[in-house]
């Protein structure tokens, strides 16, 4: 079984929104039609997005930390949004575990969005159908693209490589190794949705430097050890016995 998913490293995400814009660009230009916007340059811009980056501040000054938090559909292994759909428009693909919406079947009843605890689905206010992240299903299998580009648009766009893409059921894939070895965790595990996407936590990079690492014992240039000899001191010739 294959379960494609993203692993998002909160430790390196800088909150630049490159994944948001590249996602929008790719998915608004696809055959499924645009992701409509309202007042994009007006006072209250709003529109349909598959992916958003939020920012949280953890702790209080001076012990604060900024966490940038990209948020999209997690392609849950047990997705509560799918069984509630009355039309069968929402479905989970057997072959790769991607959760998709068939825009030609969706009646826009919004029930699936109520049944997603993460708020990962958004209705398109103009096409009146439910939209969500497709893991760029229309590009990851595209034989016309060079192999290295058969990845979701957000993954390719991320300047810090905070987004990894792969099969989380394959224990040796990059994503599985990252989850296992870097402490990857799911969101809201309490609802049993088993999100496929995982997040890697913030990790403090700490170095322990000991004194003897700062001062090299045998450093010939170490100033603190270099003593200028005065005239009473024996010379090397005095000490030598040839």
């Amino acid at each position: 079984m294959t379960q494609l998913a993203l692993v998002i490293d909160l430790n390196v995400c800088v909150g630049c929104h490159a994944c948001v814009t590249s996602c929008k660009q790719w998915n608004t230009s696809g055959s499924a039609g645009p992701m409509s916007d309202d007042r994009p340059y007006g006072k209250d811009p709003t529109g349909t997005f598959f992916n958003r980056v939020q920012t949280f501040e953890v702790g209080s000054f001076p012990k604060t930390e900024t966490v940038h938090f990209p948020k999209s559909c997690l392609h849950c292994e047990d997705p509560p949004c799918v069984p509630v759909c009355p039309t069968g428009a929402s479905y989970k693909r057997k072959e790769d575990g991607i959760v998709l919406v068939d825009y030609d079947k969706c009646i826009g009843c919004k029930y699936c969005s109520w049944a997603c605890p993460y708020g990962a689905r958004e209705i398109d206010e103009h096409q009146k159908v439910m939209k969500k992240c497709t893991l760029c299903v229309d590009r990851i299998y595209d034989q016309k693209l060079p192999e290295a580009e058969r990845k979701p648009a957000c993954v390719l766009a991320c300047p810090t490589s905070a987004r990894l893409f792969g099969d989380v059921h394959d224990p040796d894939s990059m994503v599985s190794v990252a989850i296992r070895e870097e402490g990857g965790y799911p969101l809201m595990p309490e609802w049993g949705t088993q999100p496929s996407n995982h997040y890697l936590p913030r990790r403090k990079t700490k170095m322990h430097i000991h004194e003897d690492e700062l001062v090299r014992v045998d450093n010939p240039l170490a100033k603190e050890q270099f003593k200028v000899p005065d005239s009473d001191d024996p010379f090397l010739e005095d000490a030598s016995s040839w």
């Binding site: 980056v53 939020q54 079947k105 969706c106 009646i107 826009g108 809201m188």
Partner: protein
Amino acid sequence: MHPAFSVIFLTTLIGVGQGLFLGLFTAQYYSAFKLISVENAQGFYSGGSLVALLFLFGGLGASFFHLGHPERAWRAATQWRTSWLSREVIVLPAFIFIVFVYGALYYFGWDPNLTSANLPAGQLSFLVGVAGTVVCFALFLCTGMIYGCIKFLQEWHTPLTPLNYTLLGTASGFTLAAGFAASYAPELIRFFGELAVILTLVAAVFRIWALLRNFRIKHRSTLQTAIGVRHNQIVQKAQGAMGGSFNTREYFHGRSAAFLKSMKYLFLVLTFVIPVLLLVLAMSTGINSLLGLAFAVQYLGLIAERWFFFAQARHPQNLYYQTL
């Protein structure tokens, strides 16, 4: 959640229609055993069915305003194996059909005996009535479970949700039946009026029980589990959208806590207190117009009740939208 008026009208209107049908069948049941007698049976049952149909169609019509693509609504009947919404989409037209048949049988007076055994007359309509009652309760269950089955909407995830849909619909239907009886079968005013009072009081008990339960509710999801950072103090600085999004519109009622609270007291008074007083007053004074007033007030109360029902539910996704 953001209360959508299409859904508020759908659930309250079909509730009244279902309750009224249950009222009609209750009367038929009692008269079959000669406990009451209905003088103008043809006019009362067929007229009552027509009124019930009007309410059911009103609800059905309101539901279409909720859909983005109503022309594809037939597709919604396909996933009945997993989706309560799909089940409702099947059961509601089935119920409408049965109510139509029930009313038509009475209107055309076509009610043959099905067996030669020594049973009371009106066997065919009685059988249709039994089927209608079963489907009616199935419809209440479907409607309630649409909300009750979402486990992380903890305010709704309780057997009290379908139970309250059933009780509130039935109570309002019986109140309407009392008002309807005033013009078609005055001998049934007491019968329906007393049942309406009892049902309204029972509904009040369970609705208040649900209120108390939700008052003490402890939400399982927190901002900590939502973003996976263990710290007591997390403040959101950006939501990922400047002018709001579907997430900020669909899941928030957008009113103050004081407004929510006043809505709660409003619906308690309008749905339960005033209708009971008006019903009792109407039955003791014989002023029949008070019965219609009782129904009108109770229906207004139900709109407020449904608004509150939606507004009170706090969706876990709201944790990602802290700075609203």
